[in-house]
Subunit: 520 residues, 2 copies
């Protein structure tokens, strides 16, 4: 009789859990950023890592990097000891003696805080902290209803809202999609405003021109106060080198703008093997390390201590077409090695994401995404851009994939928690209670752990086939389609001080009025 | 001019590579079994592992395991020192003093060969060797044309053929699907024959009754010769404990049959947390270890040195329905830990697979499959059953998922190869050749590595969106649908000696005639 009573409590407990939370909420897993509790997956030996580092030093000291259209950055490096060779009136080859860049990077923080306007959402970047952000930079958007089309500011706002509603992203990202209905020279204002207004998380600013970087930072001074901005990281820029081994002037000027303001920056070589890098992973890693180290070093010459993040985006290509491929096994291995290299530099790392070349939120999309994303979290990356929405080789931002990816991000929260081994979790008493052949449904141990033992997905279907079939037999993409619409319908904007909002809008109006629209 | 000439060679080389091999072939990755070249992903500390092992010993020594309907196995354990308590006339509780089972297992091989009828396809199991086999045990099959229905012997043969055609499976598996159109007491004969006739790889035999196990082994004596079978492992049985902590008589008799013949066996607790095991991973692992160790130990009491494989199949459940869930993060972590525990016992491990609860070959299917399968390969599992076809929580074998999974198995061949770090792969000269800003398309380094640098998928789409759209805009599942049909159409059976074939068929005819059909 006692056993029956306990069983009945068990059923009530399960029903109650089902009532109190929507699928996919997993309240016990919610954090402003992840603190990784499992070790990293280290695949390279000390000897191999040292060989890659030595090759990176040879690249920096013997081949050098080319800088273009930014004599001020060249002057900074010359003063720091670089060997400068004039190539043209506006381009220079810079060589860095072995160890020089590594030395310059010693003033960069191993871990820092990027503040959000809601202090509860401020994130830490570096060490065992891990921050997930939406995908970045697609000109197109797609959904199952309307297919593929150019992104608009309405799409951009939608994705900011969807990101804000996911408990398993930590950062609002940057150019979630290109708002192609706004002039190229003005869209940064609307993008930064959308992050500020429709999200209360940290975000990225513009990097497409130095004055747009300055505008982004100026808007932060309105939102956070100028003094706070000078003393704290509240915005970051995501910069690409021009591989192989070139840093163009727009990029280096933008990097200097963020660093001078004490703001953060990410330094990413996009290495398509065989095109702009060796197609062997060891070589791609050496080049990646050289490029990202030199780019990061600019920040420390401008303002020692400015937050800076190493980047790695190593891609493969199709043997058949020369098209870039994503989510393949070789770059996943490179990501694991890049995590090791970043830890040896004691600097934060941005790496990989939910990559795919698929054009639909299908089996290919999630198989490739997983191959790439597992390497990102297992390598210990600290900032994972492209955590949600990435399809079509980064050309399209997908509404449905965004939902599938954020759900996966939730599962990764559980994964990165690892599991405790202690007397309670070893559960000997629970097993001994009934002994051989007896179910554990109603043990106190089961009841105590029931609601937190397992990840609860918002989109996966676990029903019996008959139930699933009766309910229409829909696939994961269709469920994701319904979910993003429901999420947008339920969205509520976080509160914002009216005066601040007016000041931001006034700044935008003034800036837009200053110059005519430019569409290139 | 020299540069142009080299570029032109590059283009020819690429075209030529495209012509000489169908997508997904990856000749450079083909092996009879994988030799893992990257380290395992170890997540638990020595202390935590020792705690789990100590709890497993407490389970074996203080709670004990229940044996049913097989006094002979009980007698073997009693003679080896187990404490036997009679429960009923046909069930016994057996307790094993700490260390006793571990001691018995010392005669089991750390690594062994399972011979295939084609010697080139013989596999090694244990150490850094890894063998991938199709999914096992689904009563239903499904494909996109005809949906879900009961499996037949025609489906069974189809899957044996599809497995044989994949370069990235190494083993033909066992009950790929239930051939429900053949009587329950006779279908093992047709299944074993299908593996022997339509594949030339190693396979699993029947375990559903001791006499069916004996039939499976007898058919091997016809195929391989009785003497060879006595001296070598040519077949294995895949046995489940009845969790928690019960081993039923059909199972232990079957285990004894395989071991007595010197054949291999797999010992798998199917632990659904909260139902038949603690839902905390530490507890599930301790129970898994205890159950699989005791089950494996039977083999060594029957015939010391008989090949035996530890098993782990730790599942989660839906908080909402109590349904089993697959491909979730917590069991993936448990798999990683199980790999560590198996290595400490110095025994081969069967673990995880391409698990999913999805009813379609969709985004959910491959996201879950990847979460589970990555843990299998990263934990260093030596025999991965359920590597292809698993859908619907193991209730259905999917033709399309089989294609998607085998393609993933190919990608995992590349992943498990890791990458070399040496002067050639570091590619310094290739990068120095052109220097900053110059593409590497036409370097000798690129041409030398072009065809082997990257995994080439048979089903993934990497085309530009416009090309993909013009070609019909189909998803991965549809491509897989076309592929399994093309594969079956192109299938050619491996040659078999006519006399052997006749002897096998005569044996089957005689066995079938001996008893009436039974359908339960």
């Amino acid at each position: 009789m006692a056993e029956v009573a306990v069983k009945s409590r068990g059923r009530r407990a399960r029903r109650s859990a089902g009532r109190t939370a929507e699928p996919g909420q997993n309240e016990h897993l919610r954090v402003p950023y992840i603190s990784r509790r499992i070790p990293t997956y280290d695949i390279l030996s000390e000897e191999s890592l040292a060989q890659i580092e030595a090759t990176a030093e040879r690249i920096m000291s013997e081949i050098g990097l080319e800088f273009r259209d930014d004599p001020e950055t060249v002057a900074l490096f010359r003063a720091a000891g670089a060997e400068v060779t004039d190539l043209t009136a506006s381009s220079w080859n810079l060589k860095f003696a072995p160890g020089m860049i590594r030395e310059i990077l010693k003033t960069a923080p191993a871990r820092f805080t990027q503040h959000a306007r809601n202090p509860a959402n401020s994130v830490e970047i570096g060490g065992d902290a891990m921050v997930l952000a939406p995908s970045y930079g697609s000109p197109f958007v797609m959904d199952l209803d309307n297919g593929r089309r150019y992104g608009t500011i309405a799409d951009f706002r939608n994705f900011v809202k969807l990101a804000q509603m996911s408990p398993f992203l930590h950062h609002s990202g940057g150019t979630i999609c290109e708002p192609t209905d706004i002039a190229v020279n003005k869209r940064h204002l609307d993008m930064v405003y959308a992050h500020m207004r429709y999200s209360d998380r940290a975000f990225l600013g513009s990097i497409t021109a130095p004055e747009r970087a300055e505008d982004s930072i100026e808007m932060c001074r309105i939102l956070f106060g100028a003094e706070f901005v000078d003393q704290n990281c509240v915005i970051m820029g995501n910069f690409n080198t021009t591989s192989p081994l070139v840093i163009d002037g727009v990029t280096s000027q933008g990097i200097r703008a963020y660093a001078a303001a004490g703001q953060g920056s990410i330094h990413l070589p996009f290495l398509l093997g065989g095109a702009v890098a060796p197609l062997t992973m060891a070589g791609a890693l050496a080049q990646c390390l050289a490029e990202t180290m030199v780019s990061c070093a600019i920040t420390q010459l401008v303002r020692p201590g400015a937050p800076t993040i190493l980047g790695s985006f190593i891609s493969s290509m199709s043997l058949r077409s020369g098209s870039p491929t994503f989510g393949t096994p070789e770059p996943a291995l490179a990501s694991l090695a890049m995590g090791q290299l970043a830890r040896r530099l004691n600097l934060p790392l941005r790496c990989a994401g939910n990559f795919s070349t698929s054009k639909l939120p299908d089996a290919q999309a999630m198989q490739q995404a997983m191959m790439s994303m597992m390497s990102a979290v297992q390598c210990g990356a600290n900032y994972i851009l492209h955590s949600a929405g990435f399809l079509d080789g980064l050309l399209s931002m997908s509404y449905e994939k965004f939902i599938l990816d954020t759900d996966l991000c939730g599962a990764l929260h559980a994964y990165l928690n690892g599991f405790e081994v202690n007397d309670d979790t070893l559960g000997f008493d629970a097993l001994a209670e009934g002994g051989p052949g007896q179910h554990l449904f109603s043990t106190q141990h089961t009841l105590r752990h029931y609601q937190t033992a397992y990840w609860d997905s918002a989109v996966d279907d676990h029903q019996p086939w008959e139930t699933w079939d009766e309910k229409g037999g829909v696939d994961a993409a269709s469920r994701a389609n319904a979910r993003w619409k429901a999420q947008l319908a339920a969205y509520e904007a976080p509160a914002m001080d009216e005066g601040t909002d007016e000041a931001l809008q006034a700044f935008i109006t003034q800036k837009k009025a200053e110059v005519p629209d430019a569409w290139y």
